[in-house]
Amino acid sequence: MDVALSKNGARLLRAFFCLVVIFLYAPIVILLIFSFNDSAVPTFPLSGFTFHWYRDFLENGDLRAALETSAIIAALSSVGAVVLGVLASLALTRRRFRGKAAVSALLLSPLVIPYLVFGISLLLLFHRLGVPRSVLTVVIGHIVISLPYTILVLAPRLDQIDASLEEAAFDLGASRLRTFRSITLPLILPAVVSAFLIAFTTSFDEYAVASFVVGPRVTFPIYLYSALRFPSQLPQVIAVAVVVLVVSLGVVIAAEVGRRFAERRFAA
């Protein structure tokens, strides 16, 4: 007999859960349906099956360029954020120093700043410095917003692994850098990979900050936003939407399953 829920209570909650899941996925399914619909406007009744929009999207150079720009920015910024995140997490978990609470508050503070305010701040910085907006200015901004996420993934993992392993390697004569490379890094590798994926997807999808600091090479979200204002491109955008949604869902699920699997193996 369960103390938290009666049988009927559990049944009721399960039904509610199912309803919410339907609510969450229905819009995505609707996008999927209309991406194959042979009509320039997404309305009922459905008018026929087509791959037309997917073909259009493959032939749309602007769109492909935007996807490419976003991939480059996401790759650069996630590598940057993971490197900074590993350094910061090592300091937070392996060191004692004065003002640690303040330092960790600062490191995590980009989590709670409205991205709108941060985007404007960066815009004004680059304006004052006379730095032209480019791919690089977006990368700089994305590193800032991804950094706290990488720390939130990496620091708990570093806390979990037994520091006496590092100590043992050190006692056996390994240099401290070698200790990190041969002991610490392999042990936190699953967390490093998931930190990288989180930073990558955060950057790839980021619109608010990018909209203020993007240069002439637009990112995918920026392209998407402007395309949303021209209804004629809607079906094509829907087709891309479906591709991106499916790919990102796949990456997310694969990353999660992979991390669980790896950590279970290492946990022994």
Binding site: F17, P45, L116, I120, V144, L147
Partner: protein, 302 residues
Amino acid sequence: MAVADAREPPAPRRRRFRLDLTTPSLLGLPLAWLVVFFLVPIAIVGAYSFNVYSLDPGPHGFTLTAWHDFIHSSIYLKLFWKSVKMSLLVSAIIVVLAYPLAYYLALSGTKRKYVLLLLLIAPFLTSYLLRVLAWKVILGDHGVINSFLFWTGLRDPDHPISQLLYSRFAVMLVLGYIWLPFVALPIFVSLESLDTRLLEAASDLGASRLQAFRKVTLPLSLPGVFAAFLFVFIPTLGEFVTPSLVGGTSGYMYGNQIVDLFGTGFPDWETGSVLAIFLLLVVTALTVVFARFLQPRQVTAD
């Protein structure tokens, strides 16, 4: 043998171990990055708000004019209040909706709770703009809902339900849709760490399930609820993307006003900076206040 030593708690020795990399060399780069690309930029916005920097050429110096005008303007503060009310309502509704979801996952004893949790939060991890786009397709005058109503003859094609899109309702619906999966997460974490023996004890002592929920489960899960609330309220308060896509004029929010002040039409960076700094101050104050509630409290006999 050394094996015996290894079983000793290594706590005191752990402190002596040092990596080659000293604390400054570990922290230097991340902190420098945040100071240069995070704190300094915010300070520059502050400087614009006091007219220390200005977009206009010509003489300028420290003044409080922009702040004075802001505090005495009914437009900006009214708009801010409207955005606060919209965000509060969205956050409160989805926290209430998410609580039973998290409760079901954490406490119903279902075997697939992590699979179901992933199912729940996966939409959150996909593209934000695309989820807004989906609702544009659904809610428009010739969108899925209206065209379905025309098709089935429930509604005359000349009179679609036009309040669906470009309204305050649309903004709140889409924001709720976007943030609902995320909100369930912190609540789930706090419920999951709940020691169910406390519930057994309550039940043994004669408490009904409702009483046990009110006296034990709910108070212990409040930190998760507060965290969830804060994590939605902050981004929705500064939201400008969703209202600009589905809000029309009645869904116009404080964030849109800030963007417009920095826009290409009639830029007014001083006023825009005041509005941005004000938003930041409110958010920071909320974070600091709420952070006190986020520490899990001990159950005390009172």
